[in-house]
Amino acid sequence: MVARREDGRIRPGRRAVSRRGALLRSALALLAALGGFSIVVGCASTQTLGARPRVEALSSLKVGESTAADVLLEIGEPTGEGSARFRPEMEPRQVWSYEYTRIRSGWGSEDVEILILLVFLHDGRYDGHLWFGGGPLQIGSR
């Protein structure tokens, strides 16, 4: 049924409006679904920051004997550096720091694994280490 307005223009019938509304709703639903899917897929991933240091290889290093090159070979390239003087009578030690972070996100689940390793060097020789890590730690709001 075609209705005419007072100005003579054709006014779409209720069925035509209804069909257009249904199409619009379908398009909106499709776009919303695609948008949500893109957000989830686009950002769902496993991220690693830094390389995981081979802490299991620390036992092969010998204090006062292994060189900095041995540390690089056994443990890997450090992500940072530093220095330490724990006691007044102690000479400053060079510090190589290793930071490793792995984040898994997406699909409603997010967790983080963190590992920090410090390697101490004295006069270019391996002088000890400290490492700690944890995970997977669930990300959530408290």
Binding site: L24, A27, L28, L31, A32, G35, S38, I39, G42, C43, S45, Q47, L49, G50, T79, G80, E81, G82, S83, A84, R85, F86, R87, P88, M90, P92, V95, S97, E99, T101, I103, S105, E110, L118
Partner: protein
């Protein structure tokens, strides 16, 4: 049609906001060279440390097997992170600890991946 236009305009913004990069810089790490060049172990006071390094981010206490008694320590912390949506693209940290004994500067430990 106005609704459809609105969706077409908002959807890219929504997708972009889901993955836009946000950089966070937190805290400040003092110049580490000053630990040896401008402070004297056993002599410098906490006031000297504040004057040279600035006020700390926080404080703590340390008694590791290397130490024969607990020592107060100050912490300087800094972090730079880049987030893309909910994904961490970069995360770098810096830690600097200053130890005290008897009200005097007694040593330090610092390490950083900030560049």
């Amino acid at each position: 049609m106005r609704h459809a236009t609105l969706v077409l305009v908002l959807l890219p913004l929504l997708l972009e906001s889901g993955c836009s990069v946000t950089v966070l810089n937190v805290g400040r790490l003092p110049q580490a060279e000053l630990l040896e060049s401008s402070l004297r172990v056993g002599e410098s006071t906490p006031e000297d440390v504040v004057r040279v390094l600035g006020p700390p981010s926080g404080e703590g206490r340390s008694q590791t097997p290397l130490e024969d008694a607990p020592r107060p320590m100050w912490a300087y912390l800094a972090e730079r992170s880049a987030l893309e949506g909910t994904t961490l693209r970069e995360s770098r940290r810096g830690f600097l600890f200053v130890y005290f004994r008897g009200g005097r500067y007694d040593g330090y430990l610092w390490f950083s991946s900030l560049r």
